[in-house]
């Protein structure tokens, strides 16, 4: 025994005697390697255990159905998020607010951000001095021009248009415009004056447009000047009483009232900028709907591969619930609120048409939070990603997945060098470990991109690998949402700070995240079969205040991942 210790002692002494510079260097390298992450590695954006279970199943389920899944911030047996909690001035502070509708969203945008006196600490007040409290609306015209509107001026336009349309006894107003300030003003004019806005997709052939008009019974149409031939339309659909041309600034010198031979008939023709000019200075937004109407629904048209097109009427409470859920799903802990919430420092631009329900709900949520709105008329899957940065610097983007995919393919094709590929791989590893890599793109930088698959689309658009590569290329956090025609907003969407594939393969379709807090989802198995408790699969049945008519069955098959998020089956 003593011999063993003695020989050990001798060996140790001999070893230490051979200490040299290389030993010191190796020890230094070892210590540096051990201590480097303690000082230099970034914390993950979200605690990994919060990403490990992202939705809450109920404890009881019916046969043939899965458990009911809800977002973690509206637990079971509590009411779902149903509205914007709008408090009228003078209302007691602790009384719950009402759900709100489109008019409250506009009023919030006009009012600007309101912080109660004494609520902020001194250093926060110092920082807020000179900070913007209200947004603006910027319209991008081509490559050169950006026109800025203030919300007060737009309020006057809303009153002018609303009074005119109401004077013409319009009840169902079709809005067939590209993303523009006229679309926004038209939508809110209908909301304030009790008319039903019907948002129609642009660039449709005339027969399809006529079918949409007859299905929705439009009597007033706001449309781009010269976009549709009135005589031909009158042959296909005769219920149109009034058309308002929205004329581009370059064409305003022409006389749009001149009606050619044989045209017209019953349809009255008016011109948008003349309605604006007729409005007087002193015009306030009406506090109640003139004529004592109730808030109307918003009608939207979604294309459906099976039935051609769906006409869906979303009530304003559906939309208010969807908007409140979109605002609530952003991280709002103390540190994250400054970074991730919508604020007047942000600008939102939609490369998707506002005639889709998801971009519309997001834009309204941004307006409610006093984000500046940027509008670009070129939208849709064929819009280029770079066109979002012409003339404005949006910090929040809404883009169709085809746009992002095209940008991803372009950038991936350029990544041929070994160094470039290695850096890209390092960025993907940082993402997988849960933190957003710091990219330094000179100039423009969006911080958040929303993308979604269109309702009733059978083919999901992106894979997990592509989504992470898009995050690496743009330096922005990407939210992928799954939408459906009967649900305002999204059915489920990925957490902003979730960069993982949740147990799915990288080449499989991306997972679509937990349900939003304004609805609950259960999966119904095909008739006769039972739902597997380990991996529930079936048709989603969505219910809640954001769903048209309270409950809807979506015609597709979804399953769950191990993180309690939904995924395509």
């Amino acid at each position: 025994m003593a011999n063993m210790w003695q020989s050990l002692n001798e060996n140790l002494a001999a070893g230490v005697a051979e200490w040299n510079i290389y030993t010191t260097l190796l020890i230094a390298a070892l210590l540096a390697y051990i201590l480097y992450p303690a000082f230099f590695s970034p914390d993950p954006d979200l605690h990994p255990l919060l990403l490990a279970r992202q939705s809450a199943p109920s404890r009881v389920r019916q046969t043939g159905e899965s458990a009911v899944f809800r977002s973690l911030d509206t637990p079971h047996s509590y009411p779902l998020r149903s509205g914007l909690n709008v408090k009228d001035p003078g209302q007691p502070r602790w009384q719950p607010g009402r759900d709100g509708d489109l008019r409250d969203i506009w009023r919030a945008a006009v009012r600007g951000k309101v912080v109660e006196e004494g609520k902020k600490e001194k250093w926060q007040q110092e920082m807020d001095k000179g900070a913007k409290s209200k947004g603006e609306v910027k319209v991008v015209l081509g490559k050169e021009e950006v026109i800025t509107y203030q919300f007060e001026a737009l309020s006057k336009e809303i009153v002018a248009v609303g009074k005119y349309l109401q004077g013409q006894k319009g009840k169902r107003v079709g809005i067939c415009l590209a993303n523009s300030v006229e679309l926004v003003v038209g939508l809110f004019a209908c909301a304030f004056y009790g008319m039903t806005p019907i948002l129609l997709p642009t660039n449709q052939p005339l027969e399809d447009l006529a079918m949409m008009l007859s299905k929705t019974q439009v009597d007033t149409l706001l449309v781009g000047a010269g976009a549709i031939p009135l005589t031909d339309l009158a042959k296909l659909y005769s219920g149109l009483k009034q058309v308002v041309w929205v004329v581009a600034r370059t064409s305003r010198h022409m006389d749009w009232h001149e009606v050619p031979e044989g045209e017209g008939g019953k349809t009255g023709v008016a011109v948008w900028h003349e309605i604006m000019d007729e409005g007087s200075e002193k015009m306030d937004l009406p506090a109640e709907i003139p004529g004592g109407g109730q808030p109307t629904g918003v009608v939207m048209i979604t294309s459906n591969k099976k039935t051609g097109m769906d006409v869906v009427e979303y009530s304003q409470s559906n939309i208010a619930a969807a908007i409140s859920a979109q605002i609530a799903v952003l991280p709002h802990s103390y540190a994250s609120a400054e970074l991730h919430n919508f604020s007047p420092k942000d600008t939102i631009l939609s490369l998707a048409p506002l005639t889709d329900i998801y971009p519309l709900v997001l834009t309204l949520a941004a307006l409610h939070s006093n984000v500046s709105l940027a509008l670009n008329a070129v939208t849709g899957p064929q819009a280029a990603y770079d066109s979002a940065f012409l003339g404005v610097l949006p910090s929040i983007l809404i883009a169709p997945p085809q746009t992002l995919l095209k940008m991803h393919d372009q950038k991936a094709a350029v990544l041929t060098g070994l160094m470039g590929r290695y850096m890209h791989g390092r960025t993907l590893e940082t993402l997988k470990s849960g933190s957003m890599p710091k990219t330094s793109y000179v100039g423009r930088d969006a911080r958040l991109i929303y993308t979604y698959d269109s309702p009733n689309s059978q083919n999901p658009a992106l894979t997990s690998d592509q989504l992470n590569s898009i995050r690496a290329f743009t330096g922005a956090r990407v939210i992928y949402a799954h939408t459906a025609a009967q649900v305002a907003g999204a059915v489920c969407q990925t957490n902003m700070l979730d960069y993982q594939s949740n147990g799915l393969k990288g080449s499989a379709s991306v997972h679509i995240g937990p349900p939003l807090s304004c609805l609950e989802i259960k999966l119904k198995a095909t008739a006769g079969k039972e739902v597997d408790d380990e991996k529930p699969t079936g048709k989603p049945v969505v219910s809640g205040p954001a769903v048209v008519k309270g409950e809807a069955v979506i015609d597709e098959v979804l399953t769950m991942t191990t993180n309690n998020t939904f995924a395509y089956a």
């Binding site: 070893g15 230490v16 051979e18 200490w19 040299n20 510079i21 290389y22 030993t23 190796l26 020890i27 390298a29 070892l30 390697y33 051990i34 992450p37 990994p48 255990l49 990403l51 490990a52 279970r53 199943p57 109920s58 404890r59 009881v60 389920r61 019916q62 046969t63 899965s66 458990a67 997988k432 993982q500 408790d533 380990e534 191990t562």
Partner: protein, 165 residues
Amino acid sequence: MSDASTAPAATQAASIATPVNLILFTLLLVLAYHRLRPSPPPVIPKGPPPTVFKTFTPPELVPFNGENDKPIYFAVRGQVFDVSAGRNFYGPGGPYENFAGRDASRGLACGSFDEDMLTKDLHGPLDDLKDLGEEQMSSLADWEGRFQEKYLVVGKLVSEGEKKE
């Protein structure tokens, strides 16, 4: 002179590969391997699977009284509650064990745990509580409200005749 020039070269070559250096180097390699190999994200163990909502008849409900590792159920006005959390009260040997596996509506309404509060004939119709007064029905409603807040509803109770239809 040549000795002096060759000797440092030999010591240099030897000193890199001393045992201590080799040990430290392998330690570095092992650490590098551990850090760089991909690690799966942490996983929370899955919770228990959800209970399936079932329609019970009185004979089917009787076994659920806590014996043989079964959960404890009882019924109040047609709703079956899972009261396994209240094993000390409703389980075997508890003061209210008469309620386990049975229709407890009359007992709760009258505030009694006697045997004669339970329906005798399990194959017959359910207790319709028609002969109870307003005070008893209101106390039954209070109990039902408390149970709905505290325990999970896992099924409904119907008579055998109703289930056959």
